[in-house]
Symmetry: C2
């Protein structure tokens, strides 16, 4: 039986109640079958989702990439039984697939991921779905300029995450009336009552103080739910947050509003009683209204991009080259940039000046910046986000989740390493290479000059997955001709002879130290190979292996990063499986640096030309056995 | 000349104006001399800090460790010229030292760190000082039970960080009337106006909605400032946030309220004009009132701790052993635990049951959890914090900064790796070893059974720096006798013979796979050494080197973690510098796992016993050349 209850007129919502009961039952069936999952967290929101889908959502399940589709994001990703049972009610999946929930190889994972075509992004780390929804809504209002609506289902526990308030703040700031948050306030978190229980007034005050419209409703009263959605769709100029008082486990009296049932499935005999109390299994079909057709205001184009060029020897900070290149790539209409209130330092402001309509200021809210970038790329835009390299640490969980979301994201972290000098360690990224390398499928780049930076920025634009560019604060000489290519995964051999007695692997600022060291070594009669390992991941394993072979099985690796997990580890990981792994002399930052001039800090940390000369001499000696 | 303006009675505050002018001038002098720094951000808050110090702060600069001292945290760490000029005015440092600002080797770094005895924690990553202040205030109210006050100076830009709202939420929840936030609303961020400019009403609504008292004042009117502090100190039951309207660059008309002067020093000739306009250099001394003496309610004691014991073969999740051991260690009165609303999963609830007065629930606010832990340890408590291993990523920037703060922090991350099974990748920490290893001075532990877990938890209690324990969701057999010791930095050789033909290095769950693999290999006539590398950092380099020597220079490393930066990298980093680095066959998680049974996932990722058998066979073959 198909249930169709559409239109804005007051409707008989009883058929939707029946669908909601079916969805509750199916969520119980799937989770009990799986032996794990969150049925009670799903039951509390079943009425909210069913009324939304039956009356207001506009979505074409057959065409999930349709530009005009609404977006429904489960920020409370653990309510996956609800999501999947809803998909079944819509005919997107069948009951047999529903029963594969949480089994190996199934698309129906414990928390939703974009392996399912109707899921925009992975959720399950709480407080992320809403900030990402803000990004999708930004795209809808300012880029696509299409009337789709973004609906985000949140749990009440996750409202404790600061990221939720960053999100509401930006949603209000950008006037995102195309965003509606549905907060399922079922009072109970994982281990007992939430901080506010059913004190919806506390939430209302906060939501309104953050500039959003708040509607407080009974989340099981279908008329109230319907009215709230009508209200939300009619609200202009600001987002709406529907604060719905709900009952965890709603519909099955044995678990309703009871502690101890979070993430706990009903044992089979209990599930049977629940299904009975919920009125028995049904086979109702929910008709979701399809959206009108429409075309985004921005269309991706293969535009010829003219990258900036630089003169050999000219001192240019790589962060400046990032800004220059980004502005140039902005000739492509689908390129979008975000920054966290430091665009004059990261030089993202070059893009902002050139393409103000496609630049989003996120102020000092790095979590929201990453989330917004993820949301914007959901709509197909080529998205760059920048801040100080150190401050991507603030959003590490969001980057981790973006990888699970299969997001294409381009990050630029400026002011990396002890090289920054006077500002001190709080501003020095010294663990970013390790952290970003460990992100699944990531690309990690650390160029040494402006030319290579510009080329790599251009490649990032077309790179799938999460790519990270590390830039340097101070200016260093341009060492490459503008005609050179810098393929991701490559490396440049900057010094090379038939009689190399040592090989130095460097990246970023240490390339310049390595070149200076090589010159001094040459004057001592020691030829040293110098490798610019601008692509840290993937790394040019063959170039490294060749250097090791040519230079007596010893490599000197020098990096402006802590010793763990950075460039040194990348080199080791690339070569450790080879038949004769090289010996690595590893120069890295071993203390917490203080403030000071760059030269003093690089010297103190043992990563300057002096240190390289010494290490390369040792390597040459060891090799020669002399 | 000494300036003393104390007591609660209305006072002639003019002498404090003179001190504030001196502080402005000294901030300008220091930053102009250094050639970098944030003088204008310091000038806006000079009146706020001077009135605080001259009238309300209770602090003994000669005894910074005094239990009853107030705490003053500069959440806007870039206002270091103000902080250091204030220290000079108090006689804590002299002018010669002030003039070393930002130079190599100076204690006066670009952003404050605890290298200075009066600085509790490093700041400079915005939005962290306030959440840490919440932790200090928690210690004051609930642990020390001493009447000291925590004062936190915030900038307005950082109010965009979600962590600020997590902090105010918890401050209100815990009724922290011993906490006063001084928000220096100077309207201008780094690259222009902040989101709210001088709309103090917007901030007031938010602060009050989050349960705090808000006072809006003119931050340059000394009487209003003084009155606000009196009010704050008299306010019972909730924290106070003073929203002070200030002018960036206040006191020097050429830069007052002007854009383009953030983080920009005055050139020498401009500095001269500024000093003149500010009334010329002074040598005033600010008398800060000393606190009354008092003794904390909790005194650290060398209590005999009886760790839990387990039976060989008993299946116990290591997360359960964490909870058991933590509860046992709680016999020491200085041990404190925090959790982010998952204590029934991490098993921190065992501690909560045993020692409810020393357990702090932080709900789902991981940033605040880490910050509160840092704040509590400022007061000397032995602090543990737990959540799912994956969700420490949410607080990575806070952990990074905690290392710069020289904090002693003990973290336990449960549910690590693909081992968790059905919940899917959002809940699987697969990059935590890389991220946590890269934290300066960190300790990273990953035990395989309950006995070793309990022993390591006990060692963590006395471990300086940041230590991280990775625990496993499911139960695995106890493999160690309760009498065994597990020194940090050690490893256990679980299988060993004179004829070992391969060596398997494992940790946590993969130890059990390795043991199963060794048994199967033995039945094929291949003796394989098995090493439980429970201490990932520091790592037992000698044990690994010996295994490599004994087993033909080949190690098989197997880990439930992405290939970058984890156990494999730790092994490589330990041995890559040796004369003949071993060849590493590295088994790690190479895809984003889905949901499924643990066994299916470990098999799919190639880190189960089958995979180890194959790798060890290959290793043995390679070695034998057969």
């Amino acid at each position: 039986m198909a249930v169709t209850v559409q239109g804005a007129a007051p409707a008989d919502l009883e058929p939707l109640h029946e669908v909601a009961q079916q969805i509750r039952i199916d969520g119980i069936r799937a989770s009990t079958r799986a032996g794990s999952g969150h049925p009670t967290s799903s039951m509390s929101a079943a009425d909210l989702i069913t009324v939304l889908a039956g009356r207001h959502l506009r979505y074409d399940f057959a065409h999930p990439k349709l530009a005009t589709n609404d977006h429904l994001i489960f920020s409370k990703g653990h309510a996956s039984p609800l999501l999947y049972a809803f998909y079944k009610a819509c005919g997107a999946i069948d009951d047999a697939e529903l029963m594969t929930y949480r089994t190996y190889g199934s698309r129906l994972q414990g928390h939703p991921t974009p392996i399912l075509p109707w899921v925009d992004v992975a959720t399950g780390s709480l407080g992320q779905g809403l900030p990402i929804g803000v990004g999708v809504a930004l795209a809808g209002k300012y880029l696509d300029r299409l009337p789709y609506h973004v609906w985000v289902l949140c749990g009440d526990s996750e409202l404790a995450e600061g990221s939720v308030w960053e999100a509401l703040d930006k949603a209000a700031h950008y006037g995102l009336d195309n965003l509606t948050v549905i907060a399922d306030v079922n009072r109970l978190g994982q281990r007992g009552e939430t901080e506010f229980g059913w004190n919806l007034e506390a939430y209302r005050l906060r939501v309104e103080a953050f500039g959003c419209r708040a509607l407080v409703i009974d989340g099981h009263n279908l008329q109230q739910i319907d009215g709230a959605y009508v209200d939300a769709l009619e609200t202009a100029g600001r987002p709406t947050v529907i604060l719905a008082r709900t009952i965890k486990g709603k519909g099955f009296s044995e678990v309703e509003d009871k502690e101890g049932w979070h993430g706990v499935v009903l044992p089979p005999e209990m599930a049977e009683r629940a299904i009975k109390e919920l009125g028995g299994e049904r086979d109702l079909r929910l008709e979701v209204r399809k959206p009108q057709r429409g075309v985004p205001a921005i269309k991706a184009e293969k535009v010829e991009v003219t990258l900036p060029t630089y003169s050999l020897g000219e001192k240019v900070p790589t962060r400046k080259a990032y800004g220059d290149a980004l502005a140039a790539i902005g000739a492509r209409p689908e390129v979008v940039a975000l920054d966290a209130e430091v665009s004059n330092s990261t030089h993202a402001d070059e893009f902002k000046k050139a393409h103000p309509d496609r630049f989003f200021e996120m102020w000092i809210a790095e979590q929201q910046m990453i989330s917004a970038a993820v949301g914007v790329q959901v709509r197909g835009y080529t998205t760059f986000a920048s801040t100080f390299a150190a401050f991507f640490a603030r959003a590490y969980d969001f980057i981790r989740m973006a990888a699970i979301s299969q997001a294409d994201l381009r990050l630029c972290g400026s002011h990396a390493g002890s090289e920054i000098g006077a500002d001190g360690p709080s501003q020095m990224a010294l663990e970013d290479l390790a952290a970003l390398r460990a992100i699944h499928g990531s690309t990690v780049l650390y160029p040494s000059d402006a030319v290579s930076t510009a080329k790599l920025v251009a490649e990032m634009a077309d790179r799938p997955g999460i790519s990270y560019l590390r830039t340097t604060r101070n200016g260093y000489p341009v060492i490459y001709d503008n005609a050179e290519a810098f393929p991701i995964g490559g490396a440049k051999v900057l010094r090379r002879s038939d009689s190399d007695r040592a090989a130095v692997v460097a990246a970023g600022v240490t390339v310049h130290s390595a070149l200076a060291a090589a010159d001094r070594l040459a004057s001592e009669g020691i030829n040293a190979r110098v490798i610019d390992c601008y692509s840290v991941k993937p790394i040019a394993a063959e170039v490294l292996a060749e250097a090791a072979r040519d230079c007596g099985g010893i490599l000197v690796v020098v990096e402006d990063h802590y010793p763990e997990g950075g460039l040194g580890a990348a080199v080791m990981e690339a070569l450790a499986g080879s038949e004769h792994p090289p010996r690595i002399f590893h120069l890295a930052v071993r203390d917490v640096p203080g403030s000071g001039r760059t030269a003093d800090l690089l010297a103190a940390e043992g990563i300057d030309a002096d240190a390289i000369v010494t290490a390369a001499r040792d390597a040459a000696k060891t090799r020669g056995g002399s």
